[in-house]
């Protein structure tokens, strides 16, 4: 079970490259694909889901080119796109039966699997309600269920926790962690905590380029001893942002508590254990800085 991505790029109209020179090799486990909006995550997801053809490079599933032989991958693929629709007049069971047939699942096996999945995504109660009446979160859960219908070897989920309430989000993160043990799961998101909770590998993408691919511990090591908590008056925050790499901030009675990633501490700042968000911001800022210097 191996997914290989070699120098993949995608050029859109107007000579805009959504993705460029992207290479990665993946085995079983959860890969968290992190990047800001417009970084190229969804483009990569669509290429790997055989929806979009790359302009350059090659992606292969167990050695088979996914452009030349897409059905070899599709047979073992579960895909939850960022935006997807459902047929509003079908209920959950009917929709999943339809998707199971389209995926080529035998009807009897599909029935058992659908019951299992509806329990897993907590939609058993609503199984007979038309999907048109589902809330955004419920619809997202149906999307997750359809992605798991064929017991996929490669599971690609693009911003899967959008629309889920906090409790459902935690539940879904746990589910992904569990599933990642015996298959390749690619989780694309810009929510760092989702990745932190589930991924054993992280790829950081920005402006169509892969900036880093490492285990979470490795990324955390890069910012070890460089994260500080700095309490400052809220009026000083804009000026501080100009000078320091500031991540999250929390307003308290004694001022703004800011997380700063820096070699040297700001005056009066105390050291903090690093988080993945600090590491992510550090990688992004470092590469943006390099690009500005190069320019």
């Amino acid at each position: 079970m191996k997914l290989t991505i070699e120098g993949v790029g995608k050029r859109y109209r107007g000579d805009f490259w959504g993705l460029r020179g992207f290479s990665l090799e993946l085995g079983p486990g959860v890969l968290g694909l992190l990047g800001p909006n417009g970084a190229g995550k969804s483009t990569l997801m669509r290429i790997l889901a055989t929806i979009t053809r790359p302009t350059e490079g090659r992606a292969a599933w167990d050695g088979a080119d996914i452009v030349a032989e897409p059905d070899r991958l599709r047979a073992v693929l579960g895909y939850l796109p960022q935006d997807f629709g459902v047929y509003p007049n079908l209920n959950a069971v009917e929709f999943l039966e339809y998707m199971a047939a389209v995926k080529g699942l035998p009807a009897r096996a599909a029935r058992g699997r659908i019951d299992e999945l509806l329990t897993l995504v907590n939609l058993t109660e609503a199984r007979k309600r038309p999907l048109g009446g589902y809330s955004g979160g419920m619809r997202q859960r149906i999307g997750i269920a359809q992605a798991l219908l064929n017991d996929p070897k490669l599971l690609i989920v693009d911003e899967p926790t959008v629309g889920l309430d906090p409790e459902e989000r935690v539940r879904f993160r746990n589910l992904l962690s569990e599933l990642g043990g015996e298959r390749i799961v690619i989780l694309s998101t810009h929510i760092v905590s989702d990745v932190e909770a589930t991924a054993n590998g992280i790829a950081i993408v920005d402006r169509g380029r892969l900036l880093a691919h490492a285990a979470p511990e490795e990324l955390l090591r890069q910012v070890e001893g460089r994260v500080w908590e700095w309490v400052l008056p809220s009026a000083d925050l804009p000026a501080a942002r100009e000078r320091w790499k500031i991540g999250s901030t929390v307003r308290r009675a004694d001022g703004v508590h800011a997380r700063v990633v820096s070699e040297e501490p700001p005056p009066g700042a105390k050291p903090l254990p690093p988080s993945l968000e600090d590491a992510y911001l550090h990688v992004l800022e470092a590469h943006r800085g390099e690009r500005m210097v190069a320019a």
Binding site: K10, Y12, R46, A49, T50, I51, T52, R53, D71, R74, A75, L77, Y79, P81, D83, F84, G85, V86, Y87, P88, N89, L90, E94, E97, Y98, M99, A101, V102, K103, G104, L105, P106, A107, R108, A109, G112, R113, E116, L117, L120, N122, E125, A126, R129, G132, G133, S135, G143, Q146, L148, N150, D151, E167, E168, R171, N174, L175, E178, L179
Partner: protein, 506 residues
């Protein structure tokens, strides 16, 4: 209104709309569509060409224009822009009037293209190359534009009334259009004539009578081949008396009135209104849902047992269920009635009435074929499943064929029992042709409207009006099954090519 118009003109479909208008203009300019009063025609000067083109607009663009502009409210609904607009102080009448204005602007752009072609037509004919603006443009402004205003307003009305919003509205418009076109002509102007046909005909006939003597002359707009027999006269143009001008302008007032009526039906994008309203008991279920059971310590999905490698029947059954799921019980009852009628009606009635009716009844079952994925946004889910072209698309097509065969089944049995194998062959070709047309147009247009409009037109002109050249199901007994089989093959190939293109266009 301006933003809506800009959004629409920047779409690829608007370009296609202009191409369609240009195509109509081309047909006029090369003489494929002509206007005759009896056996007389006017000199191709500005007045004649202006009136001819305006009549073409009112006869053809009034039908297709509706389908072209009918989706502006729906687009706001689907994109979510509607809910943003609903949260602003904008009133419902302002919204519906704005939509009418925007629809009219799109239709007026098509009129603009045709006005240019009118000049081209005049120059190509070469009978009087001098362009006179008022005689040329007045038919556009006073005949065509009021008609387009009414089409624009009716489109908004249809979009705001829930049961007319979808395919049923598209069918209803076709029959309303047919009535608007035929009733005033049949009543010789005694009923209000929106198209303006009787107005133009009376004016032209008066001049023809003055020139060639009184006679009972017909008014023909369309393809006329016996050009050498024409009596040619110079028409002075429409005599725009104040009463006539006021009569035509009153259609604008009616358009405004219809837009305001549409405001009464407009739900202001409230999802709690209309079809998606949930029964009250559903709320209780959502409350129950908040208590989430814990995930098992280890999630294991039961391994799938491999079944038969040939999965087509399963996909076909799924597509058939999907296509028929939304039909109410009375749809099935009427379909069963058509099967019984096919088995029991007199032979001529079976061929000329029962079969055409049987193959218009499932129109809304066929029309989502090939575009359901686009409409509901399920494309990425389906196209990442195995064999979207080799398995799913043929399954959609086959489901459409099964529906045609089932509803027209009584007629087929009847042909078989009578040993009428030529009729049976025409029937079989018809059953293949209709889903092929639906699939090809659905895949390429991404909408059900094109098939609904084209098929209704074909059905009405071909089998219903017994035009042998367009008789795709053998209602006249003089159809050309081999020709339609060839067309069917081309359409099926076009559907396959279209789906391939959809998969690889990025």
């Amino acid at each position: 209104m301006r933003a809506d118009f800009l959004e629409r003109v920047r779409r690829y479909s608007f370009l296609m709309t202009l191409v369609f208008a240009a195509g109509l203009g081309y047909l006029v300019s090369v003489g494929a569509i002509k206007l005759w009063i009896g056996t007389a025609r006017g000199v191709y000067d500005s007045a004649w060409v202006g009136a001819l083109t305006a009549m073409v607009v009112n006869s053809f663009l009034s039908l297709t224009g509706f389908y072209v502009v009918k989706n502006s409210v729906e687009r706001d609904r689907q994109t979510g822009v509607g809910q943003i607009l609903a949260s602003t102080p904008m009133s419902k009448p302002l919204y519906t009037l704005g939509k009418t204005g925007s629809n009219l602007a799109v239709l007026a752009a098509m009129l603009g293209v045709l006005a240019v072609f009118a000049v081209v037509t005049q120059w190509v004919a070469g009978e009087d190359p001098q362009v006179r603006l008022w005689p040329l443009l007045s038919p556009f402004l006073l005949l065509a534009l009021p008609m387009m205003a009414l089409v624009a307003a009716l489109t908004v009305l249809f979009e705001t009334i829930p049961f007319l919003r979808g395919g049923l509205g598209n069918v209803a418009w076709f029959f309303l259009w047919t009535a608007m076109l035929s009733i005033p002509v049949a009543n010789e102007g005694k009923t209000p004539d929106l198209i303006g046909m009787t107005l133009v005909a009376q004016d032209m006939e008066a001049e023809v009578d003055a020139r060639f003597g009184d006679a009972d002359r017909g008014f023909t707009l369309g393809h006329i081949s016996n050009e050498e027999e024409a009596q040619v006269f110079r028409w002075q143009g429409m005599d725009w008396t104040p009463a006539r001008v006021l009569g035509r302008l009153s259609w604008f007032a009616l358009a405004v009135g219809i837009s305001l009526i549409a405001a009464l039906f407009f739900d202001r994008f409230d999802p709690a209104k209309g079809r998606m309203r949930l029964p009250k008991r559903k709320k209780k279920k959502e409350e129950v849902e908040e208590v989430l059971p814990a995930l098992p310590e280890h999630v294991t999905l039961t391994p799938l047992t491999p079944g038969s490698a040939f999965r087509f029947p399963g996909v076909l059954a799924a597509e058939l269920r999907l296509a028929l799921k939304v039909q109410p019980w009375w749809w099935y009852a009427a379909a069963a009635g058509l099967v019984v009628a096919g088995l029991t009606a007199p032979p001529t009635g079976v061929r000329q009435i029962v079969l055409p009716l049987a193959w218009i009844w499932p129109l809304l079952v066929w029309s989502p074929m090939g575009n359901r994925e686009t409409r509901f946004g399920t494309g990425e889910l389906l196209f990442s499943a195995p064999r979207p072209v080799g398995r799913q698309l043929p399954a959609i097509w086959m489901a459409g064929v099964i529906v045609a065969a089932a509803v027209g089944g009584g007629v087929a049995v009847r042909y078989l029992m009578a040993g009428d194998f030529s009729a049976l062959a025409a029937w079989a070709v018809g059953a293949l042709f209709i889903p092929s047309l639906a699939l090809a147009l659905g895949v390429w247009s991404g909408s059900s409207k094109l098939f609904e409009a084209v098929y209704l037109f074909l059905w009405y002109i071909g089998p219903m009006n017994r035009t042998p050249e367009l008789d795709y199901l053998g209602a006249t007994g003089r159809g050309q099954p081999l020709f339609w089989l060839a067309v069917t093959t081309l359409l099926a190939a076009a559907a396959l090519a279209g789906r391939r293109w959809q998969l690889h266009r990025d």
